[in-house]
Amino acid sequence: MTLLDAVRRAKETGDATHVVSAIPYFRFLGLQVGRDAEGSFCQLPEDPRLIGNPRLPALHGGVVGALLESAAIVELIMTSEAEILPKTINITIDYLRSARPILTFARGSVTKHGRRVANVRVEAWQEDRAKPVAAAHAHFLIA
């Protein structure tokens, strides 16, 4: 199954798992997707392999960045009217709090869906949604 087939399947069924399981790096991270009344979100289960600072301990900042980028891509794929394969142009990540090595969530929201470029904002949190551990905004090429 090609990535575009996976995108088509995900949009038909409303289940972004089809996309996540088609991308090897998402499988490597152990990334999962969920769905609630607000839409799709991504989650990264607790995994000692993802620790970047064993003394705190804390998740690696790059892993948090990867989760944010993944959640932005999933949001864009699931909410776009067209079947698209977003390419990341750039991402700006703000690290707000130390991310502990526990279950971490991220959810994106599309600020603007243009003809060629989409702007997406995304937040990651752990036990308390009101205390995000990181936030990002990213631009994607969608045509």
């Binding site: 790096y25 970047g52 064993p54 003394r55 790059g62 892993v63 991402i91 703000d94």
Partner: protein, 166 residues
């Protein structure tokens, strides 16, 4: 001989790159999971290598790496460049990271990430970083601008008992 020259000269009074090498090769679980390798570190700069692995693919049709793994490599090399610029290991935390993806990484090729810490104030370190394949340092995969907090409340990111070779 490596065709990527050290980005900064070694400062004999600064931090010994062997300490960094020991941290990269044994101290950080996620480095181990990725197989990140230490290449070189100088006065205010560092280089890391990410050996290509199919686990890291973002687009299964082309075999190109996912942006997230490039982000991780760049965040890592920036942190090391801060240590080199400070001349010591101290608790640091990434404040922000902006990454521009200039072109997809070529399937099958390792990625090198180079960071330079060009300014340090009492609280903040300012960095630029770039990623490219071996032998083509001008054909950039990604560029980055980032800032780090110095003396964050945390701990230096490696186990107290990390073995440093003499």
């Amino acid at each position: 001989m490596s065709d990527t020259p050290p980005p900064g000269s070694f400062d004999p009074d600064g931090l010994d790159p062997a300490i960094i090498q020991a941290i990269v090769s044994g101290g950080i679980p996620h480095y181990g999971a990725l197989g990140v390798q230490f290449v070189t570190a100088g006065r205010n700069a560092a280089t890391l290598r990410l050996p290509y692995r199919e686990d890291f693919i973002g687009d299964p049709e082309t075999g190109t790496l996912h942006g997230g793994v490039i982000t991780t490599l760049i965040d890592s090399v920036c942190g090391i460049a801060v240590f080199m610029a400070m001349g010591r290991l101290l608790p640091i935390a990434t404040l922000d990271l902006r990454i521009d993806y200039l072109k997809p990484a070529t399937a099958g090729l390792d990625v090198l990430a180079v960071a330079e810490c060009y300014k340090v104030t009492r609280s903040i370190a300012f960095l630029r970083a770039r990623a490219h394949h071996e032998g083509t340092p001008d054909d950039l995969i990604a560029t980055c601008a980032s800032t780090f907090m110095l003396g964050s409340s945390g701990e230096v990111p490696f186990p107290r008992n990390a073995k440093v070779p003499q």
